[in-house]
């Protein structure tokens, strides 16, 4: 059981001056912007659940996982993993024994030595009994198809191989919970599919609780029953995949090809029944409708299409999560930020909200700081 209670993590970033003089000033000033990476997140994950944790770049996903896996201490709030907090000195070892974590961006393996060496070290680190270790490593090698590279130095592995090796390293001590932060980043379609199915089998075999972040929605759809959407450090949505689709409209994209050009007048009655106006192609022979299946029967809409338009072909696609999430990111269904109006202007000295500081910036949504420099 994982419990997050109003978890916050703020980072202080020094305000950088421009030029040499500005740099000198930076050295001596105590001005900083406060980046609210995680800003009051609460959720529970039950044993055996598989949860997708998604959000745009910089939403705070990795930061949350880092707190859960003992790397960061939260600024406020608490995380309990089976009642213990990973960032508290006396409790950390117990927590760490029961979790495994993979960061797709960074390997945790010993680069210059064969994989088996790292695994052998982990055997000591986690006090894994010898026969259990042998059995489990065998299973993982089989499952993740690691035979071909098990004794090659990690340095020489391909990204896909390395990711599998990292996953095995995280699973070796039979953790109850697995945190995967972008495990499919940079992998080609085939390798990715294999990795996902391997994770699936792992879960089937060991009933591991899973928290997964990714930018590929197909990963989530294949692995998770539940999604949590994070934006600007706050949760936007927490529920089932079907739930998210319904909440943001269970849209059908209907593309109609006609045998002669049509005008927007001729689709007037149809477009009245859609939330967004239909798109008609340049040559007027193709028109796209977006229909909310929750508001009307799709079959009746199609009947009307067939009677009013000279139809040659019809294609219907369901909204995928990617589309749903994109809508959320773009429109930001977040409740209007409450702290927007307090503390107007002034020098960014000390406890200042990043929203106020970036007002002269590049006009991003929700006053988000552009972290590229």
């Amino acid at each position: 059981m994982i419990e997050l209670r109003n978890v916050k993590k703020y980072f202080k970033k020094p305000v950088r001056g421009k030029g040499v003089l500005g740099m000198l000033k930076t050295l001596f000033s105590r001005k900083y912007t406060l980046v609210k990476a995680v800003d009051g997140v609460s959720f529970d994950i039950n044993d055996g659940e598989a949860v997708g944790y998604i959000g745009a770049n910089g939403a705070g996903k990795s930061t949350t996982i880092k707190i859960m896996s003992g790397i960061l201490t939260p600024t406020e709030g608490d995380i309990f993993i089976d009642g213990q907090r990973p960032y508290v000195n006396r409790e950390r070892k117990n927590v760490l024994k029961s979790i495994g974590v993979v960061f797709g961006q960074k390997t945790q393996l010993w680069l210059d030595l064969p994989l088996t060496e790292t695994y052998d070290l982990l055997k000591g680190v986690y006090d894994i009994p010898k026969d259990e270790y042998t059995k489990r490593l065998g299973e993982l090698i089989e499952l993740l198809d690691m035979k071909p590279f098990i004794s090659a130095p990690v340095r020489t592995l391909s990204l896909g191989q390395r990711m599998r090796a990292d996953l095995a390293a995280a699973m070796l001590h039979n953790p109850k919970t697995l945190f995967l932060d972008e495990p499919t980043i940079g992998l080609d379609v085939l390798v990715k599919r294999n990795l996902i199915s391997a994770i699936k089998s792992i879960r089937a075999q060991y009933n591991t609780t899973l928290l997964l972040t990714t930018h590929a929605m197909s990963d989530i759809e294949q692995l998770c029953e539940r999604v949590i959407v994070l934006d600007n450090g706050k949760t936007l949505f927490d529920g089932t995949i079907d739930g998210i689709k319904h909440m943001f409209g269970d849209k059908r994209n209907i593309t109609v090809t006609t045998n002669r050009p049509i005008t927007s007048d001729s689709v007037q009655t149809l477009s009245d029944r859609c939330d967004v106006p239909p798109e008609i192609s340049q040559d007027g022979r193709q028109v796209k409708f977006s229909v909310d299946a929750g508001k009307q029967h799709v079959n009746e809409f199609l009947k009307s299409v067939l009677t009013t338009l000279p139809v040659e072909d019809i294609k219907i696609t369901e909204t995928d999560i990617e589309q749903v999430v994109r809508t959320i990111y773009e429109n930001g269904i977040a409740p209007p930020p409450e702290s927007e109006s307090d503390g107007t202007g002034g020098e960014p000295d000390g406890e200042n909200d990043r929203k106020e500081i970036e007002t002269d910036g590049d006009g991003q949504k929700d006053g988000k700081i552009d972290e590229t420099d």
Partner: protein, 263 residues
Amino acid sequence: MLKELKLYPKYVSMSLRSSLSYKADAILQILSFAVTEAVSLATIYLIVGTVPSVGIWSFEALAMLCGFTLIPKGIDHMFFDDLWILAYWAVRLGELDPYLTRPVNPLFQFVAKTFKWAGSGELVVGIVIMAIFAPQCAVMWTASGIIGIIVCAFLGIFVFTGIKLIFASLAFWVKSSGVILNTVYNFCNYAKYPLKYMGKAFLSIMLYVVPFGLFLYKPMECLITGENIWWSALWSAVAAVALVALGLFIWHRGLRRYESAGN
């Protein structure tokens, strides 16, 4: 603790085997540290050799002192070298992450992962110099004196380590504390000189502020003057315990501020 002890040989063997892939590099490093120290001895010779002696310090005695300082320095270098990495970039680049997710003391993992052969360059040069010059000094070699300097050398390892840990851990506040650490660490080089004649103020700094004088210089002076070496040993022990404890305290405090790194 027991687990860490059990794991240590494994770490050393992995570290050695992984540095084997860079054999030439390792040998060059050992040589470069040895040469650096030999040159510094030659410098002392050039300075001291022109005059017969500086007060109670003959050239032979100074050479022995020089060799002695290299012993704890070299040993610390072999075992705790990665504290430099902590100071310079590990905090800034978020390189502590993997050690924090494993159920073993993260500081232990961080320093155990590298066993630095290069330190043996200093250690060997130190022992050779001592072996050459110790018999030539006008010192009454007693059993108590010999055991005394061995104890001081042993404690000295931890004074080096403690000082490194304190200033490397400052990186949690300032992101990169390598320059600060380097400045403080380099004071150990002054312990090779006859501090007695270098001014009261400087001597006090070397004894009580950056206590390199306490466990490197003072025991040798005791040997030469015939004072009781065990007082220096006692103070070295106090310094070692205090500095390591302070270092651990700052490390633990700092770890709570550790920010990892964004991508």
